[in-house]
Symmetry: C2
Subunit: 115 residues, 2 copies
């Protein structure tokens, strides 16, 4: 089964009290992940925008950077993330990500559940 | 926890009797997916190379195209895939993907298990 890009569902949210909004293109749903996860998406963070800091318990969220440069908050420590870098946040740790650059940041976000 | 791109493990394989080889950059391992999956990777298919046709039972594999143009075999039907298109193959169905273009194809491959 395939879905062409233009037919993927899109949404725009303010994420965890982050700055501005982020654009989310969902690549599947919970059922598509056999309920072992709750997100597999292509996320775009425009300049000046962010996903606010939040924790993950009993699940892990991966941020895999596709384009741009972002400031990744890895459980309290800021790291510069560029295309190809990946962050894995679970086991009660927290993360956030902010675009302080002049170009959009694009990434894959994947949430996998422990149960 | 984060991993910079240059530190991600890389491997190169001939996949399911495909043409040539494909380059795989693993973004996590089975444990990172709580054993609910067995692959989350950035895959590069060079011109003239392919991943041969194969089935997925009790698991689903997603191919999400990041760059280039590929011929996706969706359970026997060929479809042109470009950046942003996604294929989901599970429930006993099969897939393969071939790069018949002059530029590399890059994609995210994710395998999630039913159990």
């Amino acid at each position: 089964m395939y879905t062409l890009s233009e037919n993927c569902p899109r949404r725009e949210i303010c994420a965890f009290n982050g700055k501005g909004t982020v654009q989310i293109k969902d690549l599947t749903d919970k059922e598509g992940l056999y309920n072992h996860g709750r997100m597999f998406a292509h996320v775009t963070i425009q300049p000046g925008c962010s996903i606010g800091y939040h924790d993950h318990n009993h699940e892990t969220e991966f941020y895999y950077i596709l384009k741009g440069e972002a400031v990744f908050n890895d459980n309290g420590k800021e790291v510069i993330f560029r295309a190809g870098d990946i962050g894995a946040t679970g086991y009660g740790q927290g993360h956030g990500i902010e675009n302080r650059s002049d170009e959009p940041v694009e990434m894959i976000a994947l949430i996998v559940s422990e149960a």
